[in-house]
């Protein structure tokens, strides 16, 4: 009897079967499930895409699996037909734990059916079982049914190309499909990037004003204090207001004057400006009064003399 290497050291691939011994792993492994852990159906269906085939997978296994358990399905194209696998990931998970394989060590899961060409000749699984392809289906056969002088092939798993593997996580059903995840996540990412860009643009909008303020404060460091600024403003603002009013009032009074209306006196004291204007006749006198009122002067006339007055 030939000894079969079930654990490939280079590629870390491992057959999983119920009689396997406890293993200790330091690296991740790819596991190949023997038919003890899955149910296989091959069908010639008129569907084009894998996702379409996967949609009908559950109904195909209705009569073959125990519906009281939660099964997962894997579908791949094999030649011109569709290969359907039903498996219970929780059962596999529990078994792996019992033989010392931690879940996070399992990088990929394959099905022994995918080795149907390599298993035309039997391989030795354990003292009790062998693995062989019978009628294109990989099958676990009790070794006692084999002839005593049977030849067992030595299989180097690292040399075999395997595709269509699944991961532990992916084998479990997600509430959201990968396609939806990609679309929605992309939308949220784009939205997030737009918000961040917009936020940065908003923040930079006061950059110029901030820089202007910094320059002004660098030129006048003492104005950093708001109290000092207020104090200076309190001092100069009334002066500015009153002095402008005084000058404006003088200019306005000068406009009331003409050859027929002459200035007799003009006095500015405290907050009052008073001017006496002598007019040549009552018409001019009324004109001066009208103009004075228009400029918000208080005016009184005594004959041809008009007195205009304003509180500053």
């Amino acid at each position: 009897m030939l000894t079969l290497s079930l654990m490939d050291k280079n590629n870390n691939r491992l057959f999983i079967h119920k009689d396997m011994e406890h293993v200790t792993l330091e690296h991740s492994v790819e596991i190949i499930l023997t038919p003890q852990f899955y149910t296989f159906i091959r069908e010639d269906l008129d569907v084009k895409f894998t996702y379409q085939a996967k949609q009908i997978a559950a109904s195909l296994f209705d009569d073959y699996i125990d519906n009281s358990f939660d099964y997962q399905y894997h579908v791949n194209k094999c030649n011109d037909k569709w290969c359907f696998f039903a498996y219970n990931i929780e059962e596999i998970d529990q078994f792996l734990e019992s033989v010392g394989i931690e879940k996070h060590r399992v990088s990929k899961i394959y099905f022994a059916q995918q080795l149907n060409d390599e298993l035309k000749e039997p391989i030795y699984l354990s003292e009790k079982n062998i693995l062989q392809t019978i009628d294109d289906i990989v099958t676990v056969i009790p070794s006692r049914l084999m002839e005593a002088n049977s030849y067992y092939k030595s299989l180097n798993l690292s040399e075999i190309k395997l595709s269509s593997g699944i991961t532990m996580g992916a084998s479990l059903d997600s509430f959201i499909s990968l396609k939806e995840t990609i679309i929605l996540s992309s939308l949220f990412l784009i939205l997030g990037i737009i918000f961040i860009t917009e936020g940065n643009r908003i923040k930079s909008s006061i950059f110029n004003e901030n820089q202007k303020l910094t320059e002004l404060l660098d030129e006048n460091p003492k104005y950093t204090s708001s109290l000092l600024r207020k104090s200076i403003l309190d001092k100069y603002t009334p002066i500015d207001k009153k002095e402008r009013e005084k000058r404006q009032s003088i200019k306005e009074i000068s406009k009331f004057l003409s050859a027929k209306s002459q200035l007799q006196s003009l006095n500015i004291e405290k907050d009052t400006i008073v001017a006496n204007i002598q007019t040549s006749d009552s018409t001019i006198s009324k004109q001066v009064e009208t103009h004075a009122k228009a400029k918000r002067f208080k005016s009184t006339s005594n004959g041809l003399d008009v007195k205009v007055e304003k509180k500053l």
């Binding site: 997600s174 929605l184 909008s205 006048n220």
Partner: protein, 138 residues
């Protein structure tokens, strides 16, 4: 949470991370907005205040005013300047026999110099003859 659970809900976790990213980005945008709203008003107020202070001080601060008020003395002939006393930051001046044109000239000069007019008394003394007394400070 073990690796298997993470793998099982990988799609949901990716989507959750994307949602959280968008949410935090939105909060960042809101905070940027509120930061700008709060600070823009403050900054603009400070800039306006400093500019106003600078302008007011330049105008009413009395820099080089001792020389500028001298033009009030030279605006008319010396004989018409009755008195011209400039002490510290104060000027007391008195004019007599000013014609209407001369009065205009002195008055125009006065209102164009940024001094505080404390008192100003203009009186007509005769035909086309005015006297003027003024006190100003800076």
């Amino acid at each position: 949470m073990n690796i298997m659970t993470l793998q099982r809900y990988k799609n949901e976790i990716i989507l959750l991370v994307a949602i959280l990213f968008a949410l935090f980005a939105f909060i960042y945008k809101l905070s940027a907005n509120s930061y700008v709203q709060e600070n823009q008003t403050i900054i603009q107020k400070q800039v306006t205040e400093i500019n106003t202070i600078t302008n007011l001080k330049d105008q009413w601060g009395g820099k080089n005013m001792a020389n500028r008020v001298k033009t009030l003395k030279t605006a008319v002939t010396t004989s018409k300047v009755k008195s011209f006393n400039k002490k510290s930051k104060k000027l007391i001046a008195s004019y007599m026999n000013l014609t209407a044109n001369e009065l205009n000239k002195v008055t125009n000069k006065l209102i164009n110099i940024p001094v505080q007019i404390v008192t100003l008394n203009i009186n007509k003394n005769g035909k086309n003859q005015y006297s003027m007394e003024l006190t100003c400070k800076w």
